[in-house]
């Protein structure tokens, strides 16, 4: 059942569940952050509407800076603005930022310890028709390895809005991973969220779970669908939403592993260096249990619809279910 404490969307399993993209949630959050604090500024590299920065740009034209198609300049100028006590949100597609400008982010933002907010939209396979060149599958790995950097990957538009408002206040270099496609709204305005806290979205009605599914981003919805189907087959699972990839909630992950003794991780990202790798690092050191990784297996994407790509690369609901059954067998054998 859905965790009743979290006030998740009661319509989540209905066919008419409301859908919105995380980038849209970010855009609304940025506007609100700008209204709340005049030091919030936004910078964009020729993708203002795509990254949903237009709401902010229209309301605060003097606090919006268009740098053109120049992602290296985007983040370094942001660093200079943060040095003067501005709170810069700089947006592009994640394939370009942090894809194009990683060293500048490392040196001028993280090493400098400047509280710039790097907004990477259009992440993952779900960019779909644009093809493999634009499907960013390495950004979690790139960003979580930089000291001082915090990394967030929200599961829906509401969560994206909440985390944006927190980023405006956390005073840390931060990366926010967003996607283009609409996805079902999983949470509600009342769902609690704080940095570093990983919440259990799905749990058995009674008794202990046999497998823990840890998932980040818009695939949280698919993981919930999977958990519901597995329940009808008599397999009890818990689903953890890992929005904060760094700082990682080690205690929550260890607690889940101790209860379930088997873990499946799910992310729209390369398995190498991604969220699943991070979970494995935590568990290998603290409480080793069998883990199955759902993610892209050392491959580039290609053109196609979001759904068909997720299935082709082994990230579909069916694949998550199979991984759960596989890890169950490894646990008992």
């Amino acid at each position: 059942m859905l965790n009743p404490k979290l006030k998740l969307n009661p319509k989540i399993f209905n066919s008419d569940v409301e859908q919105a993209s995380t980038r849209k949630g970010f855009g609304e959050g940025l506007l609100k952050a700008g209204e709340e604090n005049k030091n919030v500024v936004a910078l964009c590299a020729d993708l203002t509407e795509s990254v949903h920065m237009h709401l902010f740009a229209e309301k605060f034209p003097k606090r919006f800076i268009e740098v053109g198609v120049a992602e290296q300049n985007l983040v370094t100028v942001s660093s200079g603005m943060a040095a003067m006590n501005k709170i810069p949100f700089c947006g592009s597609y994640s394939i370009f930022s942090p894809g194009r400008n990683w060293e500048q982010i490392r040196t001028t933002i993280a090493y400098n310890n400047r509280a710039v907010k790097i907004i990477g939209s259009h992440s993952g396979l779900t960019v779909g028709p644009d093809g493999g060149s634009h499907q960013m599958l390495e950004d979690i790995a790139l960003m979580r390895t930089i000291p001082n950097m915090e990394v967030f990957s929200p599961c829906d538009a509401i969560e994206a809005k909440k985390v944006t408002l927190i980023l405006a206040k956390n005073n840390k270099p931060s990366y926010l991973r967003l996607v283009r496609e609409k996805s079902p709204i999983v949470t509600t305005e009342e769902t609690p969220y704080e940095i570093g806290g990983a919440e259990i979205f799905w749990m058995p009605d009674v008794g202990l779970a046999k497998v823990g599914i840890i998932v980040t981003g818009e695939l949280v919805y698919n993981a919930l669908l999977c958990a519901k189907e597995l329940e009808t087959e008599g397999i009890k699972t818990k689903v953890m939403n890992l929005i904060t990839i760094k700082p990682i909630d080690k205690e929550a992950i260890i607690r889940l592993a101790k209860e379930c003794k088997a873990i499946v991780t799910v992310e729209d990202h390369q398995i190498a260096g991604g969220m699943g790798s991070l979970v494995a690092e935590v568990l290998a050191e603290n409480y080793p249990v069998p883990i199955e990784f759902i993610g892209v297996k050392d491959k580039f994407g290609q053109s196609g619809g979001a759904g068909e790509l997720l299935e082709y690369y082994g990230l579909g609901v069916k694949d998550i279910k199979e991984a759960v059954k596989k890890v169950l067998k490894r646990k008992t054998s």
Partner: protein, 285 residues
Amino acid sequence: MIILNNEKIRELEKKANDIRQSIIEMLVEAKSGHTAGALGMADVFTLFYFHILKHNPKDPSWEDRDRLVLSNGHICPVLYATMAHSGYFPLEELKTLRKFGTRLQGHPHREYLPYVETSSGPLGSGLSQAIGMAMADKIDSLTVSEKSRYIYCFMSDGELDEGNTWEAIMLAGKNRLNNLIAILDRNNIQIDGNTERVMPLEPLADKWRAFNWHVIEVGGHDFKALNQAVKEAQEIFEKPTIIIAHTIPGKGVKEFERDYKWHGISPNKEEAEMALKELRDRRPI
């Protein structure tokens, strides 16, 4: 800006000579580091820290201070030596350059030495950071007047090979950042040799002009001309200004001058003694 009379110039010349001696002493002790650019920029640093910059070594985080961003962090021996001579920290500390536990990291790091405006080293990103600072001040509607501050960026000619630098140059021109003044160390050398052989930069002044900057070319060891150039830059109201300062790499030690080999190495004991003697002999009275 205070007028630069002959007495003040003589004082600056002495100071620059002292700073050059400190640079040699630091580098020989560190056994590694960049000699040519540090010596070449000693006059520019001296003029700024002892005449132009609005700063207070006793209150380094003073909010209204001018900001000086050093983009090519590898010439930091001259930055550290000038800061020490200005009173930011004891001269003794200069000998810790590049050693474990030092505040004087091989390339500047503001977490270790908070008096520097940015951590730097990887080339091509300093001008962008200075632009961010200048734009932040523009948003706050600080107008350029006697009371307001300037954002200065010291940069090298070698880092003009970086694409990031040209992205920055475009943006500053677009936004007419007249509170931004960049000083380019035009010493014509980089690690692999002469700049015009590695990657030709000329016609350099024309390039900056084409990107809507005000350009001033000046001798980088001429205090009077440099001071005049900064004064002119401050009077320009429509554009950012680039002062192309023609410097001699290794300036002050004949053996090191104009030789690109001295870009990235430090002197050994004998070379350092020779250099220090030459500098002491030439110190103005």
